[in-house]
Amino acid sequence: MQHVSPIREPLVTGGKTYHDITEDVCRQVEARPNMRWAIALAVALVGFAIFCYSVYRTLWYGIGEWGLNKTVGWAWDITNFVWWVGIGHAGTLISAILLLFRQKWRTSINRAAEAMTIFAVICAAMFPVLHMGRPWMALWVLPLPNTYGSLWVNFNSPLLWDVFAISTYFSVSLVFWYIGLIPDFATIRDRATGPIARRAYAVLSFGWTGSAKAWSRYETVSLILAGLATPLVLSVHTIVSFDFATSVIPGWHTTIFPPYFVAGAIFSGFAMVLTLMIITRKVFKLEDYITLEHIESMNKVIILTGSIVGVAYITEFFIAWYSQVEYEQYAFINRATGPYWWAYWSMMTCNVITPQLFWFRSIRRSLTATFIITIFVNIGMWFERFVIIVTSLHRDYLPSSWAMFSPTIIDVGIYVGTIGLFFTLFLLFAKFFPVINMAEVKAILKSSSEVKPHHQRHTNTMHGTPKDSNSNTSHSNE
């Protein structure tokens, strides 16, 4: 039995009815594409074209098109990989962990956040695959006997763990997202007027009718998937951090990496969700569903994870001094004062200082301020990965091999290109798929709406059947 305190802010404003939710969410799916959407898609497609050209150059002329050198063998590509994977953490966190914590505010943002996760992981996967140089050989990362003889992949390698972690994360997130989409596709199918739309959404809806038995199983599946996805989402960035932490490079070889990377991933993911949601709610007029309350809740997560990241930066520095290992100490002093000092201080400013502004309620509830700060966080988290990867590598144990890294235009092109790819996918999603989980929002409407939709309700609403009218329906495991 759920109890909603009267002092809680409503999650759905504007006195919506069930039908209003359907109308508001289906509107942009059914309407003709508007000008703003078309322009945004055109810009994204330009980015995608840049991506295609840069990938063509990389594949045709080889990895020499990139700015990597013998000393800095991982730089721009792995920075972007970790950045995208990190962004891809918010969706599953919102839908899985917040489901287990019974945070009802997740319902109107989980769909778009999960879509963002899937697209971000697609972008992330581009980098290690392209870095192979010969992506058509990518199947060799799977446990296949080498040249179909007897050598196997090396299960001791964190790079191989990554293969398993990222592919599991991608496929499980995709399935979790799709299961949630099925009832909403059914809603669109039953409203569709055109023959193509009706058939297309019928296929997408997997023949969903919304029977009580199906809903019962659907809820079970969602709960178990959330339970499975929660450790999964934490494992993915843990394993990404193992790529660094299991090596012996000063600046990488630290036990703090797994929790520090996971917190950073949630931090950057929430920032990206906010950046996108602030635009989406405006463009699609969804202000009644994605309210200031939602934005404030996400900003609170940003303060928490941003502070964890800040503490991690300081801890690393402290441990470098405390360990009395000369190389470790040099790696950190070099980060802050060496040739890449600007990257380090950009990271510190964007990630440690800016999110602290969210302690002020007025900033937390200001759309403009939130938008600007989330952009800062996105930039800061990119610099974090750049600092970790490049500054640790460019000056290693042997000063004669010290070098600097500078990206080529192709490096920049692939990075900008993945942003284009990401927005192309996101815009297509926003046009053809319901951006808000209608079924889940309808399910919380009675308890969390601003105005009662149909009939009498008490201030303290019981979600489900009020006890006085029906005694057999109390359910403790809601």
Partner: protein, 174 residues
């Protein structure tokens, strides 16, 4: 053979739950209830048993764990042993990440595929829906009509007195 149904249309989940109870108490068998979202408490009043999908998920996960361990131990320990980084051939701590990932992979996908099979969800271009509003804002209670047995007028009364806003008839071609 065509099947005939009487559809009681409701517009509130609490009214629906009470109606289901009263209709069942009156001895009428409910064929199915359709709703736009999962109504909490409907399992109890309809007598739907707890799904066994979590048990399926557990066994799929168990399969994933054992398969992953077997695969890694066999490949690196028996089929082609190699010394990597001075570690033993069967270096169990390094096998944990892949084992964990495959456990989750098998449990999640196995359960979802089972869900699709038992709920009979599959892509098709035509979906028979009793009342299209049931995926929008209405709750639909479907009761099968048996010719000569069901008293339609009494059923109509029963549904209406229990808060149905509409009572319709529907024939489904088989």
């Amino acid at each position: 053979m065509n099947k005939k149904f009487v559809l009681g249309i409701y517009d509130d989940e609490d009214v629906l739950l009470t109606a289901i109870e009263n209709v069942r108490a009156a001895g009428t068998k409910i064929y199915e209830v359709f709703s736009p979202y999962p109504v909490h408490g409907i399992d109890d009043v309809l007598g739907i048993k707890r799904s066994r999908l979590p048990i399926a998920a557990f066994f799929f996960g168990l399969f994933g764990t054992s398969f992953a361990l077997w695969m890694q131990i066999w490949m690196l320990g028996f089929d082609w042993p190699m010394i990597i980084g001075g570690k033993p051939h069967i270096a169990l701590p390094s096998f944990i990440p892949v084992t964990f990932e495959l456990t989750v992979l098998c449990a999640a996908h196995g359960m979802v595929i089972t869900f699709f099979i038992v709920t009979k969800l599959k892509p098709s271009t035509k979906v028979p829906v009793f009342d299209k509003r049931s995926t929008d804002d209405k709750f639909v209670m479907a009761i099968e009509v048996k010719d000569g047995v069901t008293d339609l007028a009494a059923l109509n009364d029963l549904l209406r007195t229990n808060g149905a806003i509409e009572v319709n008839q529907k024939e489904v071609l088989k």
